[in-house]
């Protein structure tokens, strides 16, 4: 008990005396913890709104896509079917509004309410002759509202209303299965499978969309409610007719007659696609931030430890065991990590609803982000792992330090790199000094490189994302498949996520760069003072400190490029490589920013009074 009290007392006093360092440490870990909280909170976030929408719209358990209305009869009367609506004809069309165009599936509906899947009109009114209703997310992307006039295959219609449904996933995931299983309605003029929206209109209106230039490719939708919704998958798989295989007769392909099915749980999962991308950005983002946090905490802890070598010696001299010394350092940092985890969880939980809003596609409030005990445990675990990974080695080193050496504050001898010293002898003074500084503390140089590698990787992910989006838009445009001018809500959300994560990465990396430079400045103060006593100029010494940081950062900046590309490749299939100048710009930019961030601490370090430093070192 007495020992625990001593550890507590020493830790608290130390934290009070070094509040700024403690705050920086908490900030670094909190950022990673908050990001992970947001990522984990998205699990199941859309399930609640989907359920609310299904109830509000009498949503179907199974949706059947037929190639002929005659196929409906056997399904409507199949065992287990409680009620149904349809079949409704579906026509493929190109919708145009205010210069923007997109592919659309126009579902022909009765003006009377349907028993199953009666879309919930959130603005305006239900379909009427000459008046169409747009799915809400699609309407938002198109920028249209009630009363606007849109064109469908060149014909003019008024937007009578905006509605939501639980029978189809919202834009841009309407055809959510896969490209191959999207038929029979996949050949949408003006749309690919990600850029198609849903429209309801009168049956006559849907059938009237055909023209000579644009012959109607119709299919039919049949909505089924089952007595046991849990059996939806079994119901669908029993009745699914697989598409015909490749024909043995060249040039001939047997027509696919269907039917195909989608089930309520598949639709719910497709709804979750709205936040899935964001999740797939946040989770690796949290990992990157955690890596930077480890680098930051390692530098901070290492710096504090070297500052307190004498304290370690005194503790040991008065009888502290090596274990107790290690416990003190560990306890201090683990308590800070726990505090950071709590702050991170709170910040993540507060921010998550802003990010997890499932958009306009569903009714009801988005599910409160599911901050479960499991999420909290994972986040606390991450924070503790970060602190432990960064603290364990220095704590053990403190415990093992010779008491006499520690009490005399004998600095850890720098490494000698003979080859580097030899090479540097022929270089200009700033490079000579910088190179030798790097060689003195290779572990710190490695941490600095890791910090920059992670940051550049984050930047490369952002660049890759934009390159991929640009390339997909360009490909779609070249094939006239683009949803011309429409914003993709998922892309917009991904951009927001990436921006948030990138800003956090940059801020942490900047802090880390400053910590590292300062640690180098403190560590090199004797060498700096000595060089100045021997006639080196302040700018030469200051430049040397900057060169040391840039040299450490260089391999990290270069390694960050393949790291970022590999990470993005894992996150996104069919990713496009960013142009080489973008990547070169990322590397050069990171190095320039690194140099700029280190100029002030380096100049301060170079200007330290020579006599004071040399006398302090001699004492």
């Amino acid at each position: 008990m007495g020992r625990a009290l001593l550890v507590y007392r020493l830790a608290v006093r130390d934290l009070r005396h070094h509040a700024a360092q403690a705050i920086l440490l908490v900030v670094a870990i909190s950022a990673a913890a908050a990001t992970l909280t947001m990522a984990l909170s998205m699990n199941g976030v859309t399930s609640q709104p989907y359920a609310a929408t299904k109830t509000a719209t009498d949503g179907p358990d199974v949706v059947a896509y037929l190639t002929s209305p005659a196929q409906a009869k056997s399904l409507v009367h199949a065992p287990g079917v409680a009620s149904s609506s349809g079949p409704y004809p579906v026509a493929a069309a190109v919708i145009g509004f205010d210069g923007r165009t997109a592919g659309a599936f126009a579902q022909g509906r009765s003006q009377a309410p349907a028993a199953v899947d009666q879309p919930d009109v959130t603005a305006g009114s239900w379909v009427r002759p000459g008046g169409v209703v747009l799915e809400r997310t699609f309407a938002e992307a198109l920028g249209t509202g009630v009363g606007d006039v849109v064109t469908l295959n060149g014909q003019r219609f008024t937007v009578a209303g905006i509605a939501v449904t639980a029978a189809q996933p919202p834009y841009p995931n309407l055809c959510y299965f896969t490209a191959s299983s999207c038929p029979p309605w996949s050949t949408v003029p003006g749309g690919d499978f990600r850029n198609v929206g849903l429209i309801w209109m009168t049956e006559a209106g849907a059938l009237g969309l055909a023209s000579k230039a644009n012959p109607l490719t119709a299919t039919y939708v049949l909505n089924l409610k089952l007595t046991s919704p849990a059996d939806a998958d079994a119901f669908a798989s029993q009745r699914f007719v697989p598409p015909p295989g490749p024909s043995s007769t060249p040039g001939f392909q047997a027509p696919y007659l269907g039917p195909q099915f989608s089930t309520w749980d598949g639709i719910a999962a497709a709804d979750a696609l709205l936040v899935q991308d964001a999740q797939s950005v946040l989770e690796p983002g949290a990992l990157l931030l955690a890596l930077i946090a480890i680098a930051s905490v390692t530098v901070l802890v290492g710096r504090r430890l070297s500052e307190y070598a004498r304290r370690v010696g005194l503790l040991k001299a008065v009888g502290s065991t090596p274990g107790m010394v290690a416990a003190m350092f560990l306890a201090e940092n683990l308590v800070l990590a726990l505090l950071a985890a709590v702050i991170g969880i709170a910040a993540g939980a507060l921010a998550a609803p802003l990010l997890t809003n499932p958009g306009a596609a569903l009714v009801g409030a988005p599910g409160a982000p599911s901050l479960t005990a499991g999420t909290a445990v994972e986040v606390v675990g991450l924070a503790l792992v970060v602190a432990l990974a960064a603290t364990l080695a220095p704590a053990i080193r403190a415990a093992r330090t010779s008491t006499v050496a520690a009490i005399n504050d004998v600095a850890r001898p720098p490494r000698r790199r003979g080859a580097l010293i030899k090479i540097s002898a022929g270089l200009p003074v700033p490079v000579l000094f910088g190179l030798r500084l790097v060689a003195r503390r290779p572990r710190r140089a490695l941490l600095s490189a890791a910090n920059v590698a992670v940051t550049v990787a984050g930047i490369v992910v952002v660049l890759s994302f934009h390159a991929t989006v640009n390339s997909r838009l360009a490909a779609a445009a070249s094939e006239s498949l683009t949803a011309g001018g429409l914003s993709d809500p998922v892309v917009t959300r991904d951009e927001q996520m990436l921006t948030v994560v990138t800003i956090m990465l940059l801020v942490l990396a900047a802090l880390n760069a400053i910590f590292t430079t300062w640690a180098t400045v403190i560590d090199a103060r004797r060498a700096t003072a000595l060089l100045r006593a021997l006639g080196a100029q302040v700018p030469q010494v200051g430049s040397g400190l900057v060169v040391a940081q840039v040299l450490s950062a260089l391999p990290g900046a270069i390694a960050g490029v393949p790291l970022g590309l590999a990470l993005f490749d894992v996150l996104v299939k069919n990713a496009s490589l960013p142009p080489a100048p973008w990547l070169a710009g990322a590397v050069l930019g990171a190095l320039l920013v690194m140099a700029a961030l280190t100029v002030i601490p380096a100049r301060m370090g170079a200007r330290q009074p020579v006599v004071e430093v040399l006398q302090a070192e001699a004492a």
């Binding site: 002898a425 022929g426 003074v429 021997l534 009074p609």
Partner: protein, 248 residues
Amino acid sequence: MSGSGTALLRTRGLRKDYGKGEGLVRAVDEVDMDVAPGETLAVMGPSGCGKSTLLHLLGGLDRPSAGELWLNDTRTDQLSERALAGLRRREIGFVFQAFHLMDELTARENVELPALLAGSTARQARRRALALLDRVGLTDRADHLPSALSGGQRQRVAIARALVNDPVVVLADEPTGNLDSAATLDVLRLFEHLHASGLTLVIVTHDERVAATADRLVSMRDGALVDETRLTGGGMRSVADLLRLEES
């Protein structure tokens, strides 16, 4: 207090204050001093009397609060930091009590360092360093790290480093303060050679044996010069006496 008529180092009304108001400490107080070319000057006095501060001012490591400071015909108290650095590089060599060698550099690399700072090529610096290490009797220790050298050997490396750019004056702050008797004699022998070669030396010391080797001895108290003694027959003869004394 003056030495010869054409002083290499000259101070007039040199003052260095630390702190303000009631906490003001005058470390160097109105010092007038001339050091002639080729002269060896010893500065003695009790701890805290301002000896080291005076040496730091002479070497441009610190700036005076008032007064004038001249090296040859250059008024150094008004020089920019950059010009002072150049002066330290070319004209002045420092020898510290605590040696202040770079732990990760070998003896040769430590000696090379000021030469590289002064713009010598790596080859020139190496050649010069090896020659100086030979001169201080450490040829066989050229590739040893400071941790593998004795205190006397480290100080000899530091002296070689101070000489690498052919300075006009060497300023030594308690150069034997951390050395045993044998090592002290080694260092004194070196200073004797430097003196004989015409180099100007200013040595701050507590050690009367070291002071006895000088041409002139000044004493300091409370920052001011209070006494001056011209030591007849200083230099080589005194060291020889010391050597005989140690050997007997």
